[in-house]
Symmetry: C2
Amino acid sequence: MSHEAKLTELRERIGEILDLKRASALLQWDQQTMMPPNGNESRSDQLSTIERFSHELFVSDEIGALLGELEGAELDPESIDGALVRVTRRDWEKARKVPPELQAELTRAEVIGVMAWAEARRNSDFQAFLPHLEKNVELKRRYIECFKDSGKSDYDILLDDYQEGARSEEITAIFDRVKEVVIPLIREVHAAEQVDSSFAHGHFPVEKQELIGREILERLGYSSEAWRLDPTVHPFATSISVDDIRLTTRYSEADAESIFHTAHEFGHGIYEFGIDRALERTPLVELNSMVLHESQSRLWENLVCRSRPFWKFFFPRLQEVFPDQLAGVTDEMYWRHVNRVQPDFIRVEADEVTYGMHIILRYELEQEIIAGQLELRDLPGVWNERMKDYFGLDVPDDARGVLQDVHWSGGSFGYFPTYLLGTIASVQIWEKVRSELPDLDSQMEAGEFGALRDWLGERLYKWVRRFTPDEMLERVVGGPLDVEPYLAYLGSKVEAIYGVRV
Amino acid sequence: MSHEAKLTELRERIGEILDLKRASALLQWDQQTMMPPNGNESRSDQLSTIERFSHELFVSDEIGALLGELEGAELDPESIDGALVRVTRRDWEKARKVPPELQAELTRAEVIGVMAWAEARRNSDFQAFLPHLEKNVELKRRYIECFKDSGKSDYDILLDDYQEGARSEEITAIFDRVKEVVIPLIREVHAAEQVDSSFAHGHFPVEKQELIGREILERLGYSSEAWRLDPTVHPFATSISVDDIRLTTRYSEADAESIFHTAHEFGHGIYEFGIDRALERTPLVELNSMVLHESQSRLWENLVCRSRPFWKFFFPRLQEVFPDQLAGVTDEMYWRHVNRVQPDFIRVEADEVTYGMHIILRYELEQEIIAGQLELRDLPGVWNERMKDYFGLDVPDDARGVLQDVHWSGGSFGYFPTYLLGTIASVQIWEKVRSELPDLDSQMEAGEFGALRDWLGERLYKWVRRFTPDEMLERVVGGPLDVEPYLAYLGSKVEAIYGVRV
């Protein structure tokens, strides 16, 4: 068989596996948005069967043999085929290390854990969730055992699933620097005159929020030819193909905050929509960097949608949609409102300044959990102590405390830090964009986002996994991750809103 | 391995295959209801990959060996396990006869054919569709070749995929009898005084039709715990599990006819919802009788929703929802309207009397096509001639003629007759229900459908494939298919509405 024929064979095999993964993505999207509740039990069977088949097909000796032969073919490492072989080899080596029985147990524990968590959170009952958490941690330890020969620390083995090559040593140094600046910043803001947000709480009907949400999305780059937007409990974005992007958002009638959930998920969606079509149906469309992915959700949510020019353009329209609720409010008042800093219990509702501390708290706890330094039954108490230390808040119940996030219930340890690292990267990327698009503010003020989208698409989105995360960031911003632009950005935002200089 | 262990092994293997088929059902449902249009190309890949895997997994030697061993175990043929082995053997033998390459070609031609048909129908362009039809017919001939040793005629080989054991000789005799009665009946009605339907055409907003449609569905037995209802272009029902039933319907603002599409799909849905939970995740939940399935869509659409008692209960509510449109209309007038007989071009909008002739026309043509007696390029001309003969109508264009139905574009030859056979069976079943539930009319007049649902559930729905279609009908009505109750029903309906006695 020629190299061409072997490449075709490899592409066909991994393309089929990707088809199965996309079917799985649809089953999951449907479960969160459309499925009648009684469909849940069968849905678990369907998902675990597809997961098992795609795993079995992937770890086959045949794929290993094809990779070996293609590695001998000396493909151009810069080419798509070169990247394809490299990336597939890496995934294959990782997947082969996990015994099928453990993989099945992990999948099963994830499904059961998430269901148990949802119930426990409803009842604010940590004890009911504890055995599932224990099970997840035990399985994660067995998972770590599979990668003991990698030379990585236990926690870094988990990190690698979300951010290829990430090292907790570096992350801890970055997060310590964040704490150094942000903890005093929160105190300063607390002592300053507060922002008037009284107009932002009232009755904001869902259908009107959806209307303005869609108008904003269409300006940003959404089109119904290739996208959907649906309501759900926990907002997420997923793609069923690069031309089938599904956003979800959450509406509360008490405020118009859904706009920010929607913009956040748009950031994820536009990344996947921007992928080079030549990579479709290969593992190159899959993510190797949640940091870069989150950099885009955070960029569109915060740097675009909480900016002064954004609201200069959109506030008049928002006021048209909510004339009674926003009577007498100016675009500047609204911009101040969406940038107020307010320590609170819930991560997903946190402002830009306090957000980082939510992540750091979780990062520290999950490191201690994996290191075996923290008994799981003590988790609520420790959580509440740290919330007091970092935010000065007394957690009223576990639903608003340790049970608020889904991640640990599904065994996702090592995911949380990518949110803050992504936020840090988003500011670096933003600075780069601004230096190359000097009139970006006036474009946004005119409701134009095309140049921004194109810039990000060319520099970042289209490449996805053709480079490692570190290489990719280097290509976009010209250097490694740097926390200082992020800290400076937070400082200047706080100064603009509160007149406080730290 | 004990028989128990072998049964467990068989159940697990076929359960996984069913999981894949259910994922495929969701991908298809989504394609028709939710998917952004640009997702179509990837969706074809996803569907054909899943189809291929489920076929390959099923035709494996391992399943054959398990079946052989379990057949030696002399399971009780009346038991679920006995039925499971019998049904799986039958499906396995059929599936093994079709080479994987042909199966793949059939799937591919179906996907491409349906897309080409949709475009051709939009443009009323039969020539554009012709090559796809030719391809489908050629593939069907190759498919027939695989079953030449069955002793069946070519057309009966195709029929068997939709109605296990059906024979065209018997069907032709039944349909000839229908023609004998119905063609004169249509003429008589044509000569009689027409029903006033003027009030039924106007502006009926979709959201109000959806409101009343859901109210009706909930009375019939729909609940949001286990069902969904969504709009689509071509209404259908599907199930993602026995507890996840998806109905679709079509709304036109010019009338309130969506109620009948919805009721028709409810009939399909309630059948699948009524399946014994002990059969879930086995091939026993799959259909072997489109006749019985259609008998239920037609029963709920026609015998329930076009009945006098039904409208006594629901018309006052319909009038509340559409007070201007239905001002001065009585429940009797509305009942007459929904039972008017009106020869028209479109099968899915046909009344009960003319419906059969639409089916017979298609049945005759597809028999001639498979027998090679009809050149495909002559199809539009022949279609139009028959429409003139059977209905006295001049077909204005192919979109309203030979291109109106999707079936042939997807290679479904042999499906059409099940619609009329199902309608015939529905009247037989209805007579049996009425003899055992003598107060059914007064129940329906009170909006109560629980006893009807339970009767059908116990006698028919729960068993699905535990019996052959003929055995099943025999168990429900105590005899084979009989066309006379159907013809008598049509006669008495025409007499009641038009005062015509044939």
